[in-house]
């Protein structure tokens, strides 16, 4: 968008050559529109951040009472909230590791081999991604109730692994499919056994895809509400705590934690993008 300003003559000059291109004016309108949409998307986030700095007396955090940092100093004051955050982190960590391992297996097999049943596997994964969370959550609850299984962090983790596997598998499959097989052949020519070839050559190449699949699984798990709502029983995760608090009023600490999670997430995304760009340039 900076280039046209260089080419444009000063407005005083009657320049017949500088006929404005229609595409650019249309672009300008669309540009404003896109920024309006982005502003709409950002508005509730800004409100959330703002109310974390609100100088309220107690839990009631609806009207603006002036700027204060006090809630940042009282982050761990509510035991239930702290417990919920710990539960969220534990569940997300466990489900990331398990779905990372299982999803990588599926993704590698689908990307590398053609075997009977691969079509069915793809179909099941597509179904698991496309199914409404409400149906997945309620059917899992039906299963757990029929089996008389106590609901808690374990059942939530089981559920989160279930919906994360397909996402990891798809990310890994894409990487395996575009893998340059000649590198592996070179290793084999140099006398490496298939086992050594896999761990020394293939695995390091697909590792970034495994990591991004696991990152996706972590993000899906930590923010999940609907499936968790059905499978948690009395255990609370961070989203479940917020949900439970809507009736009695959301404590400002929730806004602060929301802000911190937002900040860490954005920072992480920006840093990893910059690093991958630098990696490509090298």
């Amino acid at each position: 968008m900076t280039a046209p300003t260089l080419e444009q003559p000063t407005p005083a000059e009657p320049a017949p050559a500088a006929k404005p291109r229609r595409r650019l004016t249309g672009g300008g309108l669309l540009r404003t529109y896109t920024w309006l949409i982005i502003a709409w998307l950002a508005l509730p986030i800004l409100v959330m951040i703002m109310f974390g700095f609100n100088d309220t007396k107690g839990r009631y955090n609806q009207t603006w009472n002036g700027f204060s940092l006090k809630w940042y100093g009282r982050l761990f004051e509510l035991d239930d909230l702290t417990k919920a955050l710990v539960a969220s982190l534990l569940v997300a960590a466990a489900s990331t590791v398990i779905s990372g391992a299982l999803g990588t297996g599926i993704g590698y097999a689908l990307g590398r081999y053609s075997f009977r049943g691969s079509g069915a596997m793809n179909l099941v994964m597509f179904a698991a991604i496309a199914s409404p969370e409400l149906v997945m959550g309620s059917s899992l609850l039906s299963l757990f109730v029929s089996l008389n299984l106590g609901l808690g962090a374990v059942t939530v983790t089981i559920a989160h692994v279930m919906f994360s596997i397909s996402f990891v598998a798809i990310v890994v499959r894409a990487r395996v499919m575009t893998l340059d097989r000649s590198v592996e052949e070179a290793a084999a020519d140099l006398g490496a056994t298939p086992w050594v070839t896999f761990w020394k050559v293939t695995f390091p190449i697909i590792l970034p895809a495994v990591f991004s699949g696991m990152l996706l699984a972590f993000a899906l798990s930590i923010d999940d509400f609907i499936v968790t709502n059905f499978t948690a029983g009395t255990t609370e995760t961070f989203p479940l705590f917020i949900w439970g608090a809507t009736r009695v009023g959301i404590p400002p600490q929730v806004n602060v934690w929301g802000t911190l999670i937002f900040g860490v997430g954005v920072l992480f995304a920006v840093v990893s993008t910059i690093r991958s760009r630098q990696g490509k340039r090298d």
């Binding site: 669309l30 896109t34 998307l41 986030i45 297996g105 049943g117 409400l134 959301i250 954005v266």
Partner: protein
């Protein structure tokens, strides 16, 4: 020996994850189907009796909520196609070097918990909130004007929460269009409007289709937006199912409702897929 190993390898790799999906995705569906045909209560237990009445009861009692959910889902999806297409178009064709930055900005809501950002909207839209209060004080709005509790609030919430799911696939489809194809259309004397209609739009359609799938299903089965932003006038089927399962523990009716919802959504998606042509569906599914 080696050959046999190679034949077994993919199955060994798929087995653990495949079993997990079988036990915790496919089997629960069967359990729920069976539960939806049972009679009894949570204390004395359920027995399978092939009780189809659960379905007719569920449908006759909650038809309003079911239809409302589908209507909200369709409206939110259509609104999102209209809202998202220009955004995806601009980023794909005018984004230049900053494309990924704009996409990142579109994804910003995903860094805040789904429940929290919906509650944040309630804070903005409430009667004493920063939006309505000043307008009412200035006399621009009547004192009894509300946004919260209306269908508008619920649909707007759905549209807000699922917007990135529409922008992304449409963007991917538009981004893939070779600019030379559009230039060729212009060289063959197509007006900008014609080249948009005859070249860009058909090529963007698979993206729109994927977006519709990603928006319509979660939007019409959602219960967070209607619970936080709506009222008893806007109750969606998800709220009913959630309450039946978790509060009244009326598992058979709840299962019947949940299954009905899935069946209706599946039929809707397949009907839509047929209308669009199966080839596009396979392309989307294969992605």
């Amino acid at each position: 020996m080696n050959r046999m190993k190679r034949q077994i390898a993919p199955y060994l790799l798929v087995l653990p994850g495949g079993l997990w999906l079988l036990i915790f995705f496919a089997v629960p569906m069967v359990t729920m189907l069976s539960l939806s045909l049972q009679e009894g209560d949570i204390v004395s237990g359920y027995r399978f009796t092939g009780h189809w009445q659960n379905y007719s009861d569920a449908l006759s009692n909650y038809q309003t909520q079911l239809v409302r959910s589908l209507v909200y889902g369709v409206i939110a999806t259509v609104v999102l196609i209209v809202l998202s297409f220009p955004v995806a178009y601009w980023i794909a064709f005018y984004g230049g070097k900053r494309k990924s930055t704009y996409l990142f900005l579109i994804l910003l809501p995903f860094f805040v918990s789904f429940v929290l950002r919906t509650i944040s909207w309630r804070q903005i839209l409430t009667d004493e909130g920063p939006l309505l209060q000043p307008l009412k004080e200035m006399g621009l709005l009547p004192a009894e004007f509300h946004i919260l509790g209306t269908s508008f609030a619920v649909i707007a919430g759905l549209a807000y929460n699922f917007l990135p799911f529409m922008v992304l696939p449409v963007y991917v489809a538009l981004e893939r269009i070779d600019p030379r194809v559009i230039e060729a259309a212009r060289d063959l004397y197509a007006s900008p409007a014609t080249s948009f209609r005859k070249v860009i739009l058909p090529l963007a359609l698979p993206g729109v289709f994927a977006g519709v799938l990603m928006v319509f299903v979660p939007a019409s089965s959602d219960y967070v937006n209607s619970a936080v932003l709506g009222s008893s006038e806007t109750t969606m089927i998800g709220q009913v199912i959630q309450a039946r399962f978790l509060q009244t523990s009326d598992l058979p009716t709840a299962s019947a409702l949940s299954f009905t919802l899935m069946a209706v959504l599946l039929i809707g998606v397949f009907a839509y897929a047929r209308a669009l042509g199966t080839e596009d569906v396979m392309k989307v599914a294969a992605r």
